[in-house]
Subunit: 134 residues, 2 copies
């Protein structure tokens, strides 16, 4: 578990392990509110700095849907301090409100006439598998 921090060149501290633990206990993306609830006594400044470091080092990434609270999720192993390289897309279920990182069935190829696209980010909403079956 601390290997994950070491692998991304993040110094290991008690607090960072606790924050990482929150991400690992939750299958899907988590909000800052969730993190704050699951950490017992903590300093908000340190939390924000920790999250910033985690993002910079390629350990977690933000999921930002319009008019929605910011969510955070663990990155693919391909992400490093040199940049985030995600293949997945994001999905928010309007029934259970969970935010998923999922592989699309066909890899989308997005282009705009005359423009050079370097990064693509896809956010979707709908109803997830479990809620459809329920």
């Amino acid at each position: 578990m601390s290997d994950l921090l070491k692998h991304k060149s993040i110094r290991i501290t008690d607090f960072r392990l606790k924050v990482l633990d929150v991400f690992e206990k939750n299958t899907n993306a988590v909000s800052i509110k969730t993190i704050e609830t699951e950490l017992a006594n903590f300093d908000r400044t340190t939390l924000f700095r920790t999250l910033k470091t985690f993002i910079k080092k390629g350990l977690i990434h933000e999921v930002q849907l319009p008019n929605e609270e910011k969510m955070l999720a663990l990155c693919d192993v391909t992400c490093t301090v040199d940049g985030h390289k995600h293949e997945h897309i994001h999905f928010k279920c309007e029934t259970c409100n969970e935010v998923f990182c999922k592989q699309p069935e066909v890899n989308p190829n997005i282009s705009i006439d005359g423009f050079l696209i370097k990064k693509v980010e896809i956010n979707t909403t709908g109803i997830c598998k479990d809620c459809l079956l329920a």
Copy 2:
């Protein structure tokens, strides 16, 4: 110009016309900061309420790229109080920092195994046409 408000069932007031004017004067998406700069004397509460109303009624939409300031842009005519129905995607130029609403060359078809997708939002970054030619 006030027809646009009428068409979206938004009561016409001086303040709302001024805010709408900012959107119409700017070709691309604008930040709240930009709106505040272009409005002379105004009340921030009223501005936030106005923007919320505009979004709810389908006149403008948010463009939220991760780790970026929230941007706002006029909607397609297809958007109403019953929902936003955009065909376009968003593009932020890393050279000029403009945020565009653009039609993609091929309409992307996004699907996730077992999930029902109702809305898709695509945000891209790169270099825009003008900056490529410059």
